[in-house]
Amino acid sequence: MTVPAVIALLPWIVLTGAVVVLMLAIAIRRSFPVAFWGTVVSLLGTLASLAWIRSDLPIAATSLLRIDAYTWFFGILLSGSALAVACLCFAYFRKRENENEEIFLLLLTATLGGMTLVASNHFAMFFLGIEILTISLFPMIAYSVRASLPLEAGIKYLVLSGLASAFLLFGMALVYGELGLLSFEQIGRLGLGLESRPLVLTGVLLILAAVGFKLSWVPFHLWTPDVYQGAPAPVTAFVATVSKSAVFALWLRFLVDVQADRSEILACLLGVLALASVLAGNLLALFQQDLKRILAYSSIAHMGYLLVALVAAGRLGHQLLSETVGFYLAAYTITSIAAFGVVSALSDDTREDANVDDYQGLFWRSPGLATTLTVALLSLAGIPLTVGFLGKFYVFAVAVEAETWVLLGAVLVGSGIGLYYYLRVVWIMLQPTEKPVPSPPLHPAAGSMLALLTGLILALGVFPQKLIEAATNELRPESVTHNDAELATVMRRLTDMAASMVSEVGPRSALPAPLQPARFSPDR
């Protein structure tokens, strides 16, 4: 392995190392504050190493992982979000009696899964990343084991997620069975040929179903409100942001790398999903009484907006694609963590009040938290001065330029409905109340993180240029420098492993006899 490749992998190495060290530390002596600070330090280390490798990009660390500016942007976003969630977790679980250090361990592995996803360039890594992420999420969702709702949510997520993984694997198997390739770049060079190869089309649709499950597009959304409601609030924040951003970033890279972004069939299908998500998400949110369920349906709608942007920008050009999706996901992530963070700060492991009536009079009980939640809701609604407005502006701009009028109409209707249920929460918070719901005192870790997030929402809403520049990246693999000549053996072993995974699912006879050596031609 070459030195530049190792350096480029530093953030991943730091994160993996941190997981091991933290696990050992917990085994030796349990201490909640030490585990928290260890997590903060390792995430800061990840961020610092990301900052350090910035100038060496793009680089293909192995043929499984491609580390370029796009990866870098999402790496920063994911580890930053994980840091915010860690602060929320620290405040949320601080009163729990015993064994609460593992939440940080799971948080780090889940982040590692997400970081792997945004760098992956190969079906094997796609699957590995998504499984690392998902398997860490089950125990996180069911972390408050004494209550029934988290357990129910955990089981629900486990079962449905297992199903989605099976779909994903089967889809990959079908694509591999037809093309004999697993690397995105190589598939891209050959061309998927969705129109002419029905097996590949079926495979991609199965993959789409799995991704749709993770991103909770309608009609794959049924788990979302229950899991969001049941999971502890900081974990919900994580599921809503890190997990979604990572999977969406990967999905976009996959589409562009395998050159499926111009496929009419896929665009049409994604358009239908977008339409359904925007309308159903917003309509169903209207009938919710639980703030976490409202935010769950709103996240369905937001994933729909993002899909509108993806379909529209796909018709315009790659650069716009990464810019729009990157900006929107960053805006959505910052805003959602702030919104769930307020829910989290008002609850702890023993009691969680998420019914909207519990928020009555919040403005007069704790003005700071109420302001944060208001800013976050206005940002989700896309009101100026907040970063959410520019996100929505992007969606409108690409949809108008691509002339996708039907989708644009859906976004308009959805935004209108959305305003109503976001404002309803604001209105409830303004109402005076006679019997205030007791809430735990605000922990400084959660408080400072929420203040920071509110500041970010407003600052990026007024001065978005830096974020726009950071989100604008080249998605195409052409410009990547490859350092994997010596890596052929390692890589081939991994490809074999992936092939054996595939062969467990698909019929062996469908595999082409010789495994394509996944090497890059020397002239590249």
Partner: protein, 491 residues
């Protein structure tokens, strides 16, 4: 830089008001007065500069880079039209602070913060020359206004605030579509991505596309104006808002819709506006008569005034789409005069509600003997509102009808009927509230503060009525340029 300071002072003043509110109840009121006073000190010298201007339209400009990715610039500029409206905004802002002095007792810091931030948003709307920036301010002013209604409003404030927000925000989204489509059409023909007003003026638009774009802008402005049939949010919002909020809504926020028509719809799409004129004039005529009819049918004092606003803003719509110099000057004059008269009437209604805790005119009567100053002042503004010669509203409406008749005699005749209906609703108020046997044993008359505020408004109304030339001269350059547009660009 003056323009930037104008916005900054107002925004910072709002924050100061919020912070000092934690200290003493009186402090935010004084902070708001100082803020608006400083703003006025910046603006008033500009009137002197208007005289020395010869042929350029923009008196002051400010153009900073903001989001270069989309060619969005922080571009503010001030011409005669903006100057008049900015002055009106600050004047009514001062009065809104004045009339809330005793009414708002809960959380005065937060109240004045929202008041000043609404004003800052409105000032931004009147100054922005970048379409993105304009939209930005257009939406920004909604949020503090929403809080003003929903926190300090009357019994049905939740419904009113929500309706106000949804109507204006959703119609605003249509405008955002139109802005984006305009920008991209301009980009396709010129290969330069810009939201700048002066460059988009020269966009080469296909007439069909221009018609759709005009519709997008018109919808947002017609909701704000409001024109029938988009007016239903207005009676609720005006009735439920606290007095200061009603003054801002009727006096200033409605004018942003009218300003949008004059600043954006007519110059950006002159050809399409010419085709659209019959519809615009029709809606204007309809608003005048329908608003007046509904005003007459109301028993709630504030609701009645709210419907008269619909009626008066119909004249602005007629003036804007009649499109010649007289009619446009009339529209500008009506905007100013209606700002003053509607603010005064809302302050009277607010004063009555503060004393009686009701707005029902059925519970009022015979107040002239109890409170003669209140009665006389109400009579003055009722008469101003019905268009008595010598007062501001008459000048505006007369000019609109004069100009409109040359373009479209049919609709203008319909609009003229408004002058007959207006005395009916205006005098009904006087009859119901001030004549007849006294319904109460006692009623405290206007005190020093209230009389002073009213005198300022009376002076403004009389000045506009007797010496309209002073205002018309300021807006002359802008209006003449607007009136020349259809001739210059043909279809």
């Amino acid at each position: 830089m003056t323009l930037f300071w104008l916005l900054l002072i107002t925004l910072v003043g709002g924050i100061c008001a919020a912070l000092t509110g934690l200290w003493r109840a009186e402090a935010p009121r004084i902070a708001a007065l100082i803020t608006l006073g400083l703003d006025l000190l910046l603006v008033l010298p500009l009137f002197a500069g208007m005289d020395s201007m010869t042929n350029q339209i923009w008196l002051l400009q400010l153009d900073w880079a903001w989001i270069p990715r989309f060619g969005i610039r922080f571009h503010l500029a001030l011409d005669g039209l903006s100057l008049l409206l900015v002055a009106l905004t600050l004047f009514l802002g001062l009065l809104a602070v004045g009339c809330s002095w005793t009414e708002i007792r809960e959380r005065p810091g937060l109240f004045h913060f929202n008041l000043l931030w609404t004003l800052a948003g409105v000032l931004g709307v009147f100054l922005a020359l970048d379409l993105f920036l304009f939209f930005f301010f257009w939406e920004v002013m909604l949020v503090p206004m929403y809080f003003l209604i929903s926190l300090w409003g009357h019994e049905n404030r939740a419904y009113a605030a929500m309706k106000f927000f949804l109507f204006t925000q959703i119609s605003g989204l249509f405008m955002l579509f139109a802005i984006l489509a305009l920008v991209f059409l301009h980009y396709q023909s010129s290969r330069s991505l810009t939201f700048d007003y002066s460059q988009l003026l020269h966009a080469d638009l296909d007439p069909g596309a221009a018609r759709w774009l005009l519709l997008g802008f018109f919808l947002a402005f017609a909701v704000k104006l409001p024109a029938v049939p988009f007016h239903t949010w207005l009676p609720d919002a005006h009735t439920q808002a606290p007095t200061g909020g009603s003054v801002l809504l009727a006096g200033i926020l409605l004018k942003t819709g009218a300003y949008g028509l004059l600043r954006f719809v007519l110059p950006l799409f002159p050809g399409a506006a010419l085709d659209f004129a019959p519809i615009g004039l029709g809606l204007g005529g309809l608003s005048i008569l329908y608003g007046a009819k509904l005003a007459f049918a109301q028993s709630d004092f504030k609701r009645l005034i709210a419907y008269t606003s619909v009626s008066h803003m119909g004249f602005v719509l007629v003036g804007a789409f009649a499109g010649n110099r007289e009619a446009l000057q009339g529209a500008v004059m009506t905007m100013l005069a209606h700002g003053v008269s509607a603010a005064a009437l809302f302050m009277i209604a607010g004063a009555l509600q503060e004393r009686l805790h009701t707005r029902e005119m059925g519970n009022m009567g015979g107040f002239w003997t109890l409170a003669p100053r209140l009665g006389a002042i109400t009579l003055f503004f009722a008469v101003a509102s019905l268009g008595m010669p010598g007062l501001g509203n008459f000048v505006g409406e007369f000019l609109v009808l004069l100009g409109g008749f040359r373009v479209h005699p049919g609709w203008t005749t319909v609009a003229t009927l408004g002058l007959i209906v207006a005395p009916v609703y205006a005098l009904v108020v006087i009859q119901k509230v001030f004549h007849g046997p006294p319904r109460l044993a006692s009623l405290s008359d206007f005190g020093m503060r209230e009389t002073g505020l009213m005198l300022a408004l009376i002076a403004a109304s009389v000045w506009m009525g007797l010496y309209p030339r002073s205002m018309l001269a300021v807006s002359e350059a802008t209006v003449s340029a607007l009136a020349r547009l259809p001739a210059q660009r043909g279809t």
